[in-house]
């Protein structure tokens, strides 16, 4: 009984397959035939047109043969917030030898992204390799890693890596688990522990700014309570062919921004060949051993100041809560 059942089913499948094949072949044949028929039916109109081919030759064709073609829209050339700018690979070079902790970068970043509390995305560390060496200043921001630990652990694809090298956050999707913050070895991420107090800063920008919708390519505009924020490499500036805020704000030309595919970086005044600059000045990346492949390179702090000043305790100045004191 069971055997029979199996047999009949196999037969049915067999027949079905054959029938399907015949239909497929038949329909292909029919369409071919139909297209041939329509081609034959068009007669020459007598009018001719002169056209230029892609290799520069002039040719003459009958005007009835000319058909308008829809402009090709290459999906690789359309900007998509999750895919990034096509055929670009953004990198940054930070020349530690030039940094004097002027904090203009921090200020510019904070105001451009409406960062109102002390969780600045851009931090300038007072660093030392060992007890014997002199101190130096080291600005850090999101390293936009090519193997980002944060993206790997995100449960909802809220933080993602774009083809142009940027690691961004979709604050409308983030669930606030903070796993990405635990995963990031560079402490680059900050959390909106309370309702962000951006109203004053945004009101200065006018009514329109107050209703700006959160988008991954303009982080912090606005920030959303219970979600993670970090440096976004300013794609809103890049799109307008402008440099990120920290780069243009730096009075000492510490930051160089550019495109690895073009092999060039610029701080707005000087432009260097990326590969040559890194080679000549022994560029390196932070915590290379972790395998995160950052997009931010550092040039070593040569000629560092021996009389290193603890300097401006500018953090208090930047912090609006302390301003009133």
């Amino acid at each position: 009984m069971e055997n029979k059942k199996g047999d009949s089913r196999r037969k049915f499948l067999d027949n079905g397959l054959k029938l399907g094949l015949i239909t497929a072949i038949g329909s292909i044949g029919l369409t071919k035939l139909a297209s041939n028929l329509t081609a034959q039916s068009t007669e020459k109109s007598g009018d001719t047109m002169q056209l230029m081919t892609t290799d520069g030759k002039l040719i003459e064709v009958d005007s009835s043969q000319v058909e308008e073609v829809v402009h090709s829209t290459n999906p690789d050339k359309v900007y998509n917030v999750r895919e990034g700018l096509p055929n670009r690979k953004f990198v940054m070079v930070i020349d530690l030898a030039r940094c004097k902790n002027a904090q203009k970068c921090v200020k510019a970043c904070n105001s451009a992204h409406y960062i109102t509390t002390h969780n600045a995305w851009l931090k300038v560390y007072d660093m030392k390799e060992s007890e014997e060496t002199a101190s130096y200043w080291m600005p850090t921001l999101c390293q936009h890693c090519d193997h980002p630990a944060c993206v790997k652990v995100c449960p909802v694809d809220a933080t993602f890596k774009r083809r142009d090298g940027l690691v961004l956050i979709d604050n409308e999707r983030c669930i606030g688990c903070r796993f990405c913050m635990a995963a990031c070895p560079y402490s680059a991420r900050v959390f909106n522990w309370s309702e962000p107090d951006q109203i004053v800063a945004m009101a200065e920008m006018g009514e329109e700014a107050m209703h700006h919708e959160s988008t991954p390519d303009y982080a912090g505009f606005p920030s959303i309570k219970g979600t993670v924020d970090k440096c976004d490499f300013c794609p809103h500036m890049i799109k307008e062919e402008k440099l990120p805020h920290c780069v243009s704000a730096c009075p000492n030309g510490v930051y160089f921004f550019g495109d690895a595919y073009e092999d060039s970086v610029t701080n707005g005044e000087e432009t260097f060949q990326l590969s040559k600059l890194l080679k000549d000045k022994a560029g390196y990346r932070l915590m290379e051993s972790l395998g995160t492949e950052p997009s931010v390179y550092y040039l070593p702090p040569v000629d560092r100041m021996v009389d290193f000043e603890k300097g401006l305790d500018i953090y208090h100045e930047l912090n609006p809560e302390n301003k009133s004191h």
Binding site: P155, V156, I175
Partner: protein
């Protein structure tokens, strides 16, 4: 016959007395306070906690790990010990499963409490990515909850049928409910065979799932680069610690139920003796893992680990760290080696010490690590260098612990704490009962 009736009467669930009512009221008050605290957290944001950008996980996460840990006891007692034919643990299977169910439910809820956007929980199901250990955790915990629920329900079928009859004779309305829940259990050989097979299948299935639950939970930490978490040892280390915590919980709850429900006859001193020996073994295994986890990194003393280990051994966390190791894991082993230490009352206190230590142990695993990031903590508020839970965090945490106890209390109210059918079979009472019918 009389013996059988007495057994059913002894083991049938009982209504709460005054003590029980006070106990429930106490739990409900804590839970209400916690709900109010959580409402504060929802409206103001996680700013009401002491967590900040460096100490980005705190007591909620360590409490979550604690709940997951305790839940593993269900699989140890009702699966590992049952499959290895340990008869002494039969009266404990129900208690172990009740503890497991209550803690795994609370583990799931606790992790939601930690979320910055609990309103977007559904994103995990819509946008979930297979790469993320959180997604694995969600899958594994829900699977564990499901299997645990079946594992507690199947062995209850014969008991429900017994209770249906018992309450019918007593003229109680509850009979109807137990009847429905018993799914027409008649005790026919065929039913028995199906039940036996299903329980055995589940008991085997739950072991890998239980290991997975806590191993994946440990991966939430060990998949990061952080000093103190960056360990290949974390999975077995967590599983070993989980069995310690769960056994301590079962010891305490068994002791309490035994006196509140007059079950000394069914939960004899011998059970505590065996549990004590089991706890010694589990503690020794856990101490072994601790040696691996702390002394080997300390031997190498890499620059990343150095700062972290210093804070544990000699720094801010030293008192807590050494208290947990010595008082909660080494001292119990010494006490429990002596037969007098394995008597019920000393066992209750040992269970308490071990359970409290286990809770703090998770706290020590989760919070100090985050205060030692790779790049130094500079230019931030002084308070960000430290972490200690705020009143809101404590209230919510105690609320979750009270909720777990409330779930246990409610289950204990309606389910027979000691399996009736199995105990009867064990004492050959079924045959005699049948004969006399």
């Amino acid at each position: 016959m009389q013996k059988y009736d007495q057994l059913v009467k002894d083991l049938a669930p009982k209504k709460f007395g005054i003590k029980g009512t006070i106990w429930i009221a106490f739990l409900v008050i804590i839970i209400l306070a916690a709900l109010y605290a959580y409402y504060q957290q929802l409206t103001k944001g996680l700013i009401v906690t002491d967590m900040r950008d460096y100490a980005l996980w705190g007591v909620y996460i360590s409490n979550f790990v604690f709940f997951v840990a305790v839940s593993l006891i269900g699989s140890l007692i009702s699966a590992v010990l049952t499959i290895s034919k340990q008869k002494w643990s039969i009266p404990l299977t129900r208690i172990a499963e009740i503890v497991a169910i209550a803690s795994i439910i609370m583990a799931g809820l606790t992790i939601i409490i930690d979320m910055g956007r609990p309103d977007r929980l559904w994103h995990i199901f819509v946008y979930g990515r297979a790469q993320s250990p959180i997604v694995w955790d969600v899958l594994v915990i829900s699977t564990y909850l499901f299997i645990s629920a079946l594992l507690i329900y199947y062995p209850l079928l014969p008991d429900f049928a017994i209770l249906k009859k018992y309450y019918k004779d007593a003229g109680s309305k509850e009979s109807k409910w137990y009847g429905k829940l018993s799914l027409n259990w008649t005790g026919s050989p065929k039913q028995k065979e199906i039940l036996h097979k299903s329980i055995r299948t589940l008991a085997v299935l739950i072991i890998p799932v239980a290991f997975a639950v806590h191993t994946v939970t440990s991966w939430l930490f060990s998949t990061t680069y952080r000093p103190g978490w960056d360990s290949t040892n974390f999975g077995p280390y967590f599983v070993a610690g989980a069995f310690v915590a769960g056994t301590a919980a079962v010891i305490m709850i068994t002791y309490v139920l035994r006196s509140t429900h007059n079950l000394k006859e069914y939960l004899p001193d011998e059970i505590f003796d065996k549990l004590g020996k089991l706890l010694v073994l589990l503690c020794l295994i856990y101490i072994y893992f601790n040696i691996n986890e702390y002394l080997i990194p300390a031997y190498k003393n890499t620059s990343e680990e150095k700062e972290h280990l210093y804070s544990l051994f000699f720094g801010n966390y030293a008192i807590l760290f050494w208290s947990v190791i010595f008082i909660s894991f080494i001292f119990p082993v010494i006490v429990l080696i002596f037969p007098k230490g394995r008597k019920p009352l000393p066992m209750f206190f040992i269970g308490f010490i071990v359970l409290v230590g286990s809770w703090w142990k998770r706290y020590i695993i989760v919070t100090p690590t985050l205060l030692h990031p790779f790049l130094p903590i500079q230019d931030v508020d002084k308070a960000w260098h430290q972490y200690f839970p705020t009143v809101v965090e404590w209230t919510i945490t105690f609320g979750t612990l009270a909720s777990a106890l409330l779930i246990i209390t409610i289950l204990v109210r309606y389910l027979p704490i000691v399996p009736i059918q199995e105990t009867a079979e064990e004492n050959n009472l079924i045959e005699t009962a049948k004969k006399s019918e």
